[in-house]
Subunit: 251 residues, 2 copies
Amino acid sequence: MTTEREFLDGYDPREFPPVAVTVDVVTLTVRDGVLHVLLVDRAQHPFAGRRALPGGFVRESETLAEAAMRELAEETGLRPGEGQLGAVHLEQLASYGDPGRDPRMRVISVAYLAFAPSLPDPRAGGDAAGAAWVPVSEAAGLAFDHDAILAAGLDRARAKLEYTPLATAFVPAEFTISELRAVYAAVWGEDLHPGNFHRKVLSVPGFVESTGETASRGGERGGPRARLYRAGDARLLHPALLRPAREDGVR
Amino acid sequence: MTTEREFLDGYDPREFPPVAVTVDVVTLTVRDGVLHVLLVDRAQHPFAGRRALPGGFVRESETLAEAAMRELAEETGLRPGEGQLGAVHLEQLASYGDPGRDPRMRVISVAYLAFAPSLPDPRAGGDAAGAAWVPVSEAAGLAFDHDAILAAGLDRARAKLEYTPLATAFVPAEFTISELRAVYAAVWGEDLHPGNFHRKVLSVPGFVESTGETASRGGERGGPRARLYRAGDARLLHPALLRPAREDGVR
DNA sequence: CCATGTTGTTCTCAGGTTGAGTATTACTCG
DNA sequence: CGAGTAATACTCAACCTGAGAACAACATGG
């Protein structure tokens, strides 16, 4: 904010230092059991040829979230929404503003985090020639400080799976328990005990609710047809689905 | 961020729209068992006479975190650090940039959250004439969108007490288990079972470590002298200290 | 200095949750 | 049709939790 006091006898004689505000979007999805992030190829000079998170300037009339949604839609053709098929969950991640993070000028970037169900390749669609889904394990050496932003997004995603029903944003509107389990496995990078996962998911009130139906066929390699569920109305998971503990304490 | 593509054939003809970037700091402390936030009085026109979070412009050569630390130091005389007496924990909270949130111009504010041990009144110190610790229950009707920022800070603080040793940032370097419990009670707004809290804190590896010593006297209203502890080296609490469940599910 | 009430610390115990393993059955593919 | 796989349901021991009680060490006010 800006107190009037600061505004008048401000420390900086200039009215305001030249700053640009941008948004960058970490968009995650699970394809074929592997966590992917949406990246674009940079053509021009700072970091030319490197990959980067999609992003751009915040326009004068839009909110930060609107700018993030616009950037996301431009790259993927998605329409972020809140409940329909193809809906995308979008939330603010953090802001990055170290002097020198962009060699051209002072740029403050507000990073957003988006979760999408499995989607077609963005190349197929609009003007986003250089956009592609990249497995997070191969997404290193990004432009600017985007490696750090991506890492923060992954941390946040992994943590939010524990205590929110966010995993349902990665699957279609109707899904099976094992599809949900595959999301957890992909994001956390470790397999989960099928029986315990099943018990846990069904015991958390409001996490999933049964459609009376059953999948039209069994798994690819066999097994019975699984029951179908849709996302419930819970916003917080109680009790939480805690991931197996790593090296505790100092970390 | 800012792709060169955007930079060149950008949507906005001007080089960059006029934007100011500020930091606002939500500084929390526990005094006499009550959670307080540091606020300043606004003298000049937008929201004159209202209270607001301390904040100000980000200077050209400093990082966002440095700007937040500077604002905090200016208002309190504190020196944020990481382990000494009077150390203050500082972390980024979120950014706020709706058009119109400041009536004068487009202002993007990066909010920070700080946790301090009980401190003397800021009035005593430097040039911060209008700064004061205010119980959070009385901190409503703040300037700009600071009510929302404060609410976000409180949410974050309450959540982080569960799975991080953050409570130790609210107490002196050496403290008793019940002083720690008083912090949880103040931040969460509910009393905790002393016996269970004791057991839990001591069972989490790295949360606290014993100094061999004992408090110099018992409680104000009686009771034995408690043992003294200092913060351990854990950064994450495993298992977490979960607060009693509220209204589950829909929330 | 004594009676009273308060508090730090340790136990106990019943109930719930967890991880790991097993059983059963319904599917797939070749 | 046979072999392998996966969805779902159980079992069981280990652990954690909330609630309560026990007890000793203290402060305070007469």
